[in-house]
């Protein structure tokens, strides 16, 4: 690894992103890695190592890594961290930066389309509401217009 390949500004960029503030406090004790339920299943998934890579400025290596998308957001690492690094939130900050830099997972677009069309991940149409009514449950309404405005997207296929 060459020092020239490192971006010393990367840790500041992560620290400036909401949730990323704690990264510089890490003293590499690895409590996060020991407690992580994903680390036990995925070779190479190691919160402490990811933090070191950011602090070293290995920007591309971090942002392009498929590993950053494997956090289950269980927050266990945050609970055991003696330095209040809040790694789950640090990783959310890193993922947000990665997504803006074009490394986002393809599923995001599908989520946005679904929210713009229905305001929810699962459609509630006549069929679903009939089933709810049959069980004595109140109907549920969709409010896609709110989500279109917030997300700045047009309704898909001119849905009424």
């Amino acid at each position: 690894m060459l020092l020239n390949d490192c971006d010393p500004g990367f840790k500041h960029q992560v620290a400036a992103e909401p949730g990323g503030q704690g990264i510089k406090a890490c003293f590499a004790c690895a409590a996060c890695t020991a407690r992580c339920p994903v680390a036990g299943h995925v070779e190479g998934y190691d919160p402490r190592r990811l933090i070191r890579l950011v602090l070293l400025g290995r920007r591309e290596e971090v942002l392009a890594s498929p590993l950053i998308w494997l956090c289950s957001t269980c927050y266990s690492c945050q609970e055991v961290c003696p330095q209040q690094v809040s790694f789950t939130e640090v990783l959310t900050a890193i993922k947000n930066i990665a997504a803006r830099a074009g490394y986002g997972p393809p599923a995001t677009e599908a989520v946005i389309d679904q929210l713009a069309a229905h305001g929810r991940l699962l459609e509630v149409g006549e069929f679903e509401n009939q089933r709810r009514t049959d069980l004595g449950l109140p109907e549920v309404a969709e409010a896609p217009a709110h989500f279109q405005k917030v997300l700045g997207v047009e309704p898909a296929g001119g849905k009424s």
């Binding site: 909401p18 949730g19 339920p37 994903v38 299943h41 995925v42 998308w69 494997l70 956090c71 289950s72 957001t73 269980c74 927050y75 266990s76 945050q78 609970e79 055991v80 809040s86 789950t88 939130e89 959310t92 900050a93 993922k95 947000n96 997504a99 986002g104 997972p105 599923a107 995001t108 989520v111 946005i112 929210l115 229905h118 305001g119 929810r120 991940l121 699962l122 459609e123 509630v124 679903e128 089933r131 709810r132 069980l135 004595g136 449950l137 109140p138 109907e139 549920v140 309404a141 969709e142 409010a143 709110h146 989500f147 405005k149 917030v150 997300l151």
Partner: protein, 290 residues
Amino acid sequence: MEALLYLGCTVPVRNLNYELSARKVAAALGVKLRDLTEAGCCGFPLKATDQAAALVIAARALAQAGEGGLTLTPLCSACTGTLAEAAHHLDHDAAARRRVNRELAPLGLAYRPGVRVKHLVRFLLEDVGEAAIKKKLTRSLEGFSFAPHYGCHYLKPSQVLGGLDDPEDPTSLARLIELTGAEAVAYDSMKECCGGGVLGADERLAGRMAGTKLVDLAAREVTALALLCPFCNVMYEGQQKTIAKKLATELKVPVVYVTQVLGLALGFKPKELGFKLNRIKPKDLVKAFK
């Protein structure tokens, strides 16, 4: 006592047994649940890639909830975590609040600090109280045993969701189960995450994570695994067959919601609590209270 029910995306479509039992239990315990019928998504699915958008979406729901002044009570732990974190963030960051409110203005909404968010089960524990719950129970579930699964966003992060329980040594669900006379099983994999959060990114990993707990429980005599989150249900019930196949093992771990357990102790019949919709049923339990 009143609370504002937040159904989110998954529960009102896929987990009607959870919703049915939660509504019955709340009513029987004297909690009138009002509905936030146009709530929709809490913002959770956008957090990984666009926190700013997720915060506005969460703030939208919080602003709708804030109008009535009632505690917002989701059934889903992901909704609970996302909404509680957003409220915490907005209450402590005036600049973020102004930014969010600028985006909410075209919807005719504004977030005002102080919106309370509590998972409905937590609301029952804290606002109704264990002693008051115990008094209302009419039937003993003695002889049955349930493995409590706390999941993640019911208690964590503790800086936002603290105060109820120790996330590294939780007891609140076990206490709730034991109020009914049933045994709350202590088991090695109790704190394991279901893996639901990575199902979209890596199905095999998610299955292995959920499999850890299912394999542990399959080796025990336990009436059922007791849940309080629809995402955990996707993994432990919805994916159980697939996981068993992938791990080349036999798995048949019945899965229930903790509200169904409470509902039986409150005198409801399994049918009223939606047990028909449980795909891997605790047959003895259902038979005993038919």
